[in-house]
Symmetry: C2
Amino acid sequence: MAQTPPTGLQLQSLVTAAETLEVFLADVSVPEPGPDEVIVAVEAAPINPSDLGLLFAGADMTAATRSGSGERPVVTAPIPHAAMRALSGRVGTPMPAGNEGAGIVVAAGSSAAAQALLGKTVAVAGGSMYAQFREVNVAACLELPDGMTAAEGASSFVNPMTVLGMVETMRREHHSALVHTAAASNLGQMLSRLCIEEQIQLVNIVRRPEQEELLRSAGASHVCNSSSPDFMADLTDALKQTGATVAFDAVGGGRLAGQILTCMEAAASATAPSYSRYGSSVHKQVYIYGSLDRGPTELARSFGMAWGVGGWLLTPFLQKIGPEGMARLRRRVADGLTTTFASSYTAEVSLAGALQLAAIADYGRQATGSKYLIKPTS
Amino acid sequence: MAQTPPTGLQLQSLVTAAETLEVFLADVSVPEPGPDEVIVAVEAAPINPSDLGLLFAGADMTAATRSGSGERPVVTAPIPHAAMRALSGRVGTPMPAGNEGAGIVVAAGSSAAAQALLGKTVAVAGGSMYAQFREVNVAACLELPDGMTAAEGASSFVNPMTVLGMVETMRREHHSALVHTAAASNLGQMLSRLCIEEQIQLVNIVRRPEQEELLRSAGASHVCNSSSPDFMADLTDALKQTGATVAFDAVGGGRLAGQILTCMEAAASATAPSYSRYGSSVHKQVYIYGSLDRGPTELARSFGMAWGVGGWLLTPFLQKIGPEGMARLRRRVADGLTTTFASSYTAEVSLAGALQLAAIADYGRQATGSKYLIKPTS
């Protein structure tokens, strides 16, 4: 382990009993790798929307303050009392964060598999990636092709597997086309590319004209703007054309999920052979996988009885499809890492830089077009 | 067909393009039965909550007026504009109503099966039962045991099959205990009896102390009052004790469905081995099968990501379990028609009596403890 220092920085998030969040950098020791383990020097780790829940614990980040030194900043923010119930399990325990990332294997255990990775650039989806060093089992490493940088491979798990999971869920549950909200996000653009490639009809819902333009210029056929006065009519038309009866919704709060169901029902009723008192018999499903709007989901239930709304999360989906299904999706990702599944970033920051209040305000609002990459070794 | 007159009264519901509901009695001809058909002189048909949607079409019945004669009343009521979208398929077409009922077979087709029912008292779940005569296929008839009256057998389908469907759904989806709302209803009392018999843990949610008392005195172990200031704590306790992770909700609107999910999550987290940023991995499900509160369903999403809310309806459930499954449930009902699956009524009315404004105001508000039986031949 000549190349690894005894300790490295790790970003940690702590919820205190005083209903306060503290995010800071801790020195943690770099362990000796076990036989099947390697030590990865993390070069790049994205900040995904799915990282923010653990990182900020629902605290009011508009009230965040920063103390400590420039290299060892401490960000503190108040947690609304109502959010504490769900956090009771983590009070007092500093938690590492960062679902995925990539870096170079700088130390390896004794097994042949571990030794084979020494010096290689690998992508890892194991959590705790906002750190300078991370020990992981070799099974959790995806060796990147020669010449691919850690930055290019850093987002090779969460977004790619999520969009593949959406398409897979659509097929497994016997739908034939998809609806996606917040569709101009990095993930949304990736889903759009995948659907174009696989000739799956996709209805993209965005909030702004420039987002419409972005998706259309990349080849999307159906883009609806939820801020338009014609939104409900436009969406119903797109649903009639595509026959989409399942939606993946990153917004969560407000009326959007219910509006999608209402338009799906209107599209289904338009082609129904006769009136039914209970609405159409077509099952309409919205999966909420994000929470850009943290407010309550409001369902007007003007869409008959054949409907469902529920949470959707990558990990249980992967458990459902099992190791073989997961391996198949991983191969699909590896084949398209610089094309279909490529990510782009608007800013690169160090671990300390990720705790700048201005940076938090930027990536924390989860606005489309703002995506950060942490480079822990910089 | 010596015993059947050429025509009989039938209650009909009409939505007009002028956004008005008209409910009236029409003379309809009594047809010759086909080989496998019988003519039932309907003696008793219940007004179930599931009948009201077709009957009143979402009209504002507090603004209803009555005209016509005492024997041929016409009830008229305005339909809110917003409700018309879902009704476009039935504008201008008078629709018969009444999901189920029972009566005497007064004419039969030529087949042996039809002839065998002549003179028998049968229960029928075929729709159009608010009528003096109803022609039905013999396959839709359940012959009642000797000595059982039509009134005793009139509700042998909707409520019994619904409560059996709830228990069956619980088992098929790998839950081990149930939650039920509006639990002091006729259906709720039936579900409570069934769960006691089958030793299934049931958490009953009611709104009033006398409803708590009613269920407890009938042997219910877990009854929570949603009007109590301790409701959330009481419900969480009951969910911890029972492990119930699926609920059937007759209320639909408001915060109740979300509160149930929140308490299920609290119960699941209390026993979880470690903190998870996405909440517990226990799937929590609420099925909305009624709409006592027609307002929007409001979900605060304070219950992790493993959850679902959806519509539940008897007919698609029966299609899902197929003819064999349905036959099995029918036998179960037949065995308990005067015990587990018995219904009781607070009033009996004629067809014209069902169109009295005072009666509509009573059964139309779907209050627990108010259930009407129409006796078309009286």
